[in-house]
Structure formats: C-alpha cells, structure tokens
C-alpha cells in the first residue's frame, strides 16, 4: 500500500503537468519563402528518414501526441513548436552522432524559424517518450527495451512526416498570399 501511494504521488503530478494547458502562441514564422526549409530542414529530415530503416513495424495506432496536436488551420505554428521540442527528446536514444545532429538541426532550425516569443510556455515532461516500468527480469526488460525503441522510432518517423506536411502547408499558404 505504501508502494501504491508513492506511485500515485510521484507518477501522477508529472502527468498532470504534461496535461496543463499551454499559453497562446505568438510566433512569427520566418523563411516563408521556403529557402531554409527546402535547403536545410528537408535535407536533414530526409537523412533521418533514411536512417530510420523500417516501415512495417510501425503500429497502426496513432500516438496520443497526434491526437492532441495537429497542423490545423491557424495552429501550424503551435504544432511545429511542439513537434520541434518533441524531437529533442529523441536525442536520448543515442543512436549515433550524425543521427543526433540531424535531429538537432530539424528541431532547432524549426524553432529558430518559428521565432516564437517568450510568452510561450510548453510544459512537457521529458519522460513522455515512455513511462517507467516496474522492475522485471532482464530478459523481459531487454525485449521491452527493444520494443520501446521500435515504438519510439516509429513515432519519430510519423512525427517527421507530420512536420514536413505542416511546413508544406505553411509554404503553400504563403505562396497563395
């Protein structure tokens, strides 16, 4: 019972923090001519896609992130902002230095182009990639880790595609105007 109380004490508050509403976004998107996106961001996104070498293992179930955030009209900046910050969490996977560089380029490049003001507060827990599992035997942990890695990579792949789609939407809108 004591364990249960600890779990609820130290597990739920971070979850609540994640679900806290975020302040309104005030971003001034730069590079709407598409130069930075096409010559830098897209190059790195394609490199990441080539590094993530699987398609079929992705789960059909859409992660919760995309259920909550999408590139809707007038919400492109907020989605990109959240997606860019989400990318940073994948640095912990430590796949390779080049992989991390590409991730950083896409993430930081997107944030630089969004040029959001300091009013923006995004309270996201860095551990949202995966919850802490109870201790089990080594074999089960190993398989679970592999499964988690696959899930994370699948999530990353989908996230990158969503980022590309959202950028294309922004650039199309900029051309029409």
């Amino acid at each position: 019972m004591f364990h249960v109380s600890f779990r609820y004490i130290f597990g739920i508050p971070p979850l609540i923090l994640v679900l806290l509403p975020v302040a309104s976004f005030d971003c001034d998107i730069e590079g709407k001519d598409g130069g930075a996106y096409q010559n830098v961001l897209m190059v790195n996104i394609n490199d990441l896609d080539s590094m993530i070498d699987f398609d079929s293992n992705c789960l059909n179930n859409e992660p919760n992130f995309f259920k909550k955030h999408s590139c809707d009209d007038n919400k492109e900046a907020s989605f990109l902002y959240r997606a860019a910050r989400k990318l940073k969490q994948f640095l912990k996977m430590n796949i390779s230095d080049d992989f991390n560089l590409h991730l950083s380029t896409v993430s930081q490049g997107t944030l630089t182009l969004l040029n959001c003001t300091s009013k923006v507060r995004v309270k996201e827990k860095t551990t949202s990639l995966g919850e802490a599992q109870p201790t089990k035997n080594l074999e089960e942990n190993k398989s679970l880790k592999e499964q988690k890695k696959q899930n994370d990579l699948c999530f990353l792949k989908i996230l990158l595609q969503k980022i590309k789609t959202c950028w294309n939407k922004i650039l199309r809108g900029a051309k029409e105007h």
């Binding site: 590079g31 130069g35 930075a36 010559n39 830098v40 930081q108 490049g109 630089t112």
Partner: protein, 459 residues
C-alpha cells in the same frame, strides 16, 4: 595642504587624460582607431570534409599584430552556444558539424576575454565553393569545336549543389586578354572559328553558389589547362581527298558531255526521239533499185538483136504443142537448142526478121535471158519452151521486171496482187496478142512482182 591637493588633482587629471580611453573623439562617440585595424572577413565552406563544415576568418590587414588575438563564433550552433577558432598561419579557422545553417551568428575578435570587434554573419551567405578540378579540352574535328569539361566536388554535396561556373581562356601570347563565359553545367563547347588556328591557349574555371538561399564568393581558379588549336586550311586550300574527288568528278562529267555530243545524232537521239519512218523512203527501200551496171533500157535500138514477133496466142499454143510432139529437124533442132540454151532476151520488140541471129544472141543471150523477157528467147513459129537459162533468168526476171516496172515513174499506188508468177508457164504469143498478153502477163507479173517483192521484203 591646499597646494598639495591641487597638485594631486592635476596629477590625477593628467593621468586620466593621458591614460584614459584612447581614441576619444570630440563628439563623444567612441571611435576606436585600433578596432579598424582588426577588421576581418570570413568565408565558409560546407561539407568540405564529409559532413564537416569549415569557417575561415582573417584580418583584412595582414600586418596587424594578431598575437593573443582569438576568434569566437556564437549563435546558430547546434548543442553549444559558442565555438572558438583555431589559429593557423595568420588565419583563423574552425572545422565542425555544429553549424545550424539557419539564422545569424556573431563572430568576435577577442583579446583575452574582451571582445575587440564583432561582426554579425550568416554562415550560408558567405559560402565559398571549392575550386573545380580536372578540366579537359577535347577537339572534335567533325564538329569543328572544342569540348571543355571539368569536375566539381559539389555535385555530391547535399547543401550547396547548384553552382554558377565561369570559364576563362586566353591565347598564351596575349597575357591579359581573357575571354569569360558563364555556365551552370560542367560542359562547354568552344567553336573553332572563334579561336586562332595553330595557337596555344590557356583555360581555367571557377564557381560561385547559384541558389536563392546559399550565397557567397567565387571559388579559387582551377588549375589551368593548355591546348593548341589545329592548323586550318586556307581559303584556297582544300582537303587532298576532297580535291582528288572533285577533279575526278569534273573529268567524268566532261567526258560524259563529250560522249553525249558525239553520240547524240547516232545513238542517243534515235532512242529519245525515234524517227517516224517516212513512207516514201520506206517504199523506196522496199523497191530494190536497179544495179548501176545493169544496162536496162526501153530504147528499141537495144532490142535490135532480138527477134520480136507478134504471135497469135492460140496458134502459138497449137504450134508449141505440135512442136513438142514432133521431132525437130536437126538443123532447126540445133539452132533451136542453141537458142534455147542461150536463153531469152530482154523486153519485147516487134521483130522484123524471123529468127534470132545466133551471133548477137549468143553474145547477149545470157544477159537478155537474165532480163527475163519471155518472148525474146524464142523463135517465131517454134513452140517455146522455157530454157533453163530463161528459167533461171525467169527466176530473177520478176524482180528485174518489177524493177523495170517500178523504177522510174514509180507511183505510190500498190500493185494489185496477181497470181504468183510460175516460170514454167511462159508461152510465146503473137505481137498484138502478145503485147496484150504481155501486158496482161506483165500486169500479172507486175502484180506477181509486187506480191513476190512484198514477200521478199517481208522476209
């Protein structure tokens, strides 16, 4: 105390004035003359070593004292805030993968911890491509041009892929007379006519970023390539093979013209414009002209040696039959045989004497028999039988007779075809009837002649 205080005050004032901020301007603006000496410029080279980028900075004044001077870049970096340059032979460079390539960076010259001078730069706007290499020039004789090709490492890069290249070439003896051409590909055609023949040329190429995002400076020139243009033939000279071919063709044409002129009338014209035969001439050809040595004449004097009698036709027939049945007296028989042997004479002529003089007859008999006249070869009152000579002459007779008939005064009217001439049926007739018979026979002979001649011609 007061003077001491004044003295100290003046000392402090002088110290402040002397050791104070140097470069203090009258207008109060800070204008550090020494900072101008530390002006610098930088250029970047992306993906110069794999995925690593290179940023190179240097002072504009090469004589500046760069001892203890350092360069630092901050901003637009991945995972770090600032990076320090490495000093190498008066230049400051940094080689890293951590350039964000989005946004501006700040590059400062630092003396210790103090920033001497700073500049705001965008790494993607100071790109200096790598120099092209492997420039080659190949002459194409068929196209009369030079193909210039070169290579650049940016073809395999991810960021700066599109470049503008500048090709410069000159004749080696003209040192500063460079010709420039811009192109976006790595292949160029130089026309031979734009270059001097049999001259030595030098060519080189450089590049600059050609995108709307990456900008920068010209690269270094590629290593030069030297080539010599071929000698071209003068305006009056021709390729030897072409010259030989042209001469041969000229002579061939001339020969054909000469042959055409020579053979025009005889060979070519009849084929191209076959002549329609003139029927007059054709008829003349059909009619065999008499031989020149043929003494044919209707002059009665030529028939003086011939005994021509008008023989009654019926009486002649009876007498001929009787003659054939009764044996002839030897003398008459001999003379008759002789006469018969020698054959008949020429055309008819009314004869005043009864016989034919053997002398004249002998002399001209063959000829006269050849003339083919029937009655001439026969004696009056004697049944006439055709002599072999007359027969022979008779064979030729129709022709000759026809010739006699159709020679002078020949008309175009065709002779009516008559019964074919049969030498075995010749008979001797009296003069009047003979003439009529002769004329009828002649007409029949004429007709026969025509027919025979027509057969002859058909053959």
């Amino acid at each position: 105390m007061a003077p001491l205080g004044i003295a100290l005050g003046m000392v402090f004032y002088l110290l402040q004035a002397v050791s104070g901020e140097s470069g203090y301007a009258e207008n109060g603006d800070f204008d550090d003359a020494e900072m101008d000496d530390y002006s610098f410029s930088c250029y970047s080279q992306l993906e110069v070593d794999g995925s690593q980028h290179l940023l190179t900075c240097a002072f504009d004044d090469p004589d500046v004292n760069s001892t203890n001077m350092e360069f630092e870049i901050c901003g637009a970096l991945l995972e770090v805030e600032c990076l320090s340059f490495n000093k190498l032979q008066g230049m400051y460079l940094i080689k890293t993968k951590k350039f964000l390539l989005i946004g501006d960076s700040k590059i400062c010259v630092k003396l210790g911890r103090k920033s001497v001078t700073c500049k705001k730069m965008n790494i993607v706007k100071i790109v200096k491509p790598e120099a092209p290499f492997d420039i080659r020039v190949v002459y194409r004789k068929g196209a009369n041009d030079f193909v210039v090709t070169f290579n650049t490492s940016h073809l395999q890069k991810k960021y700066v892929k599109e470049l503008m290249h500048e090709v410069a070439y000159r004749q080696e003896k003209n040192e500063n007379d460079w010709m420039h051409m811009n192109l976006s590909s790595t292949k160029l055609m130089l026309l031979q006519r734009k270059l001097q023949p049999n001259a030595m040329y030098e060519i080189k190429v450089r590049s600059i970023p050609n995108t709307n995002y990456f900008e920068g400076f010209w690269s270094e020139w590629s290593p030069s390539f030297h080539f010599r243009t071929p000698e071209t033939n003068g305006p009056g000279e021709m390729d030897p093979v072409l010259l030989i071919i042209s001469i041969l063709s000229f002579f061939s044409v001339a020969l054909m013209v000469v042959l055409a002129c020579v053979l025009w009338e005889k060979r070519i014209k009849p084929i191209i414009w076959p002549s329609i035969p003139d029927h007059k001439k054709t008829l003349e050809q059909l009619c065999k002209k008499p031989k020149k040595n043929l003494n044919v004449s209707f002059n009665p004097e030529s028939f003086l040696d011939c005994q021509i009698h008008n023989v009654d036709g019926i009486q002649a027939r009876d007498e001929a039959e009787g003659f054939l049945q009764d044996p002839l007296p030897p003398q008459l028989e001999e003379s008759e045989k002789q006469r018969l042997r020698e054959g008949m004479q020429g055309p008819n002529r009314p004869s005043e004497h009864a016989g034919i003089s053997p002398k004249t007859f002998r002399g001209e008999s063959s000829f006269r028999c050849l003339a083919g006249n029937i009655s001439v070869c026969d004696a009056p009152g004697l049944p006439f039988s055709r002599s072999p000579d007359c027969k022979e002459g008779g064979k030729n007779g129709p022709l000759l007779y026809q010739d006699l008939l159709l020679g002078p005064g020949t008309t175009n009217s065709t002779l009516p075809p008559l019964f074919p001439f049969q030498p075995g049926t010749l008979t001797l007739n009296p003069a009047a009837q003979g003439q009529s018979i002769l004329t009828s026979l002649g007409s029949s002979q004429e007709e026969a002649y025509v027919t025979m001649s027509s057969f002859y011609q058909n053959q």
